[in-house]
Symmetry: C2
Subunit: 191 residues, 2 copies
Amino acid sequence: MNEHKLLIDNIREKVNISEEDIAKLIPYFKLKYIKKKKDLNRIGDNCNELTFVVEGALRSYSIDDKGNEHVSQIALEEYWIGDVFSFVTGKPSLFAVEAIEDSKLLVISAYDLDRIYLEVPIMERFFRKLFENAYVAATMRINSSNSDQADLRYKTLIKTFPSIAERIPLIHIASYLGITPESLSRIRKNI
Amino acid sequence: MNEHKLLIDNIREKVNISEEDIAKLIPYFKLKYIKKKKDLNRIGDNCNELTFVVEGALRSYSIDDKGNEHVSQIALEEYWIGDVFSFVTGKPSLFAVEAIEDSKLLVISAYDLDRIYLEVPIMERFFRKLFENAYVAATMRINSSNSDQADLRYKTLIKTFPSIAERIPLIHIASYLGITPESLSRIRKNI
DNA sequence: CGCGACGTTGATTTGCCTCAACGATTGTGG
DNA sequence: CCACAATCGTTGAGGCAAATCAACGTCGCG
């Protein structure tokens, strides 16, 4: 049950929730193990799931017309990841979700989440806050992309998430920052 | 009450809500008029408000170390705007909110919104969905910024919001896209 | 009217990309 | 357990999209 403890702590950071309510929602989260480089979801699937990372690291990415990947999210332990576009709209996903390391996950489907909202209304508040924070983070990322040069964006990222620099391949960090691996390699050399 | 009709429609697009609940929440929204180029909030203020645009157009922007403005949001009628960073964290705002046209607004404070969540719980769902959508839009914008050239980003923007091209000064659209006014002027020439 | 905001155009510069080659490390099948 | 391939990161050369710098026309408004 240790994997659930991390999730419960994550929920309790944002809302007050009783033991009974916790007991009600836990069964809806499915424990899943995934090997490095395996896809949790592929582009074009209906990704009606949100994933909480208990152990490991995941990324989501899209593929453009020329076949180039673009990393849109990187999630380490205690973070949430998923193709929120597909999750929210119900349309086929534009993003794939892939494990960067062997990972241990707790996965909730959109269908089950709707049931949780009915059975445990406080969770509506939890996810409201989760998406508020995600939106703020995305806004800051856009702002940084429009204001700062690549080297500063990299420094800000590894200051916020130091372990990303050690655990995540350069090629994915570069893509997340919107630059090429060659450019990031040169940026690292100059630090 | 016409200004409230637009807001009520906006809420009903996302949730089923009774007339009684509507009646409860309406008084919390304050009607406000603002003149072109006037600030609704300045950087450094505590912006504990969210704004629904009934008529007109607003933008939010930050200012970087070199004194350059960077537009982070543009909101026309029926859209929401605010410094969500300050709204969510309670910290002094990093973004200013300014009227691009003379505008008619409905403004809700964080304090009153918390009271609404208690009195009209369905509104928790409404804002959960609002932020879900805002997050998805922000993600798509990041993805476009990392995948597409400036001219395509501009074309996509005016395809989605045709009236932006007519109503919003080029200088603000350019800033929103993360390019200079000179570049956007040249892009327009080539269309 | 006169000033400031806005948009345009040209000349030049630059940050990052593209293309290419090449070690180092990791993973895999025989 | 080794051999080989694939992945990952580095470095160099050259190119390009967009920035910068500068000048100027137009419009709206106090």
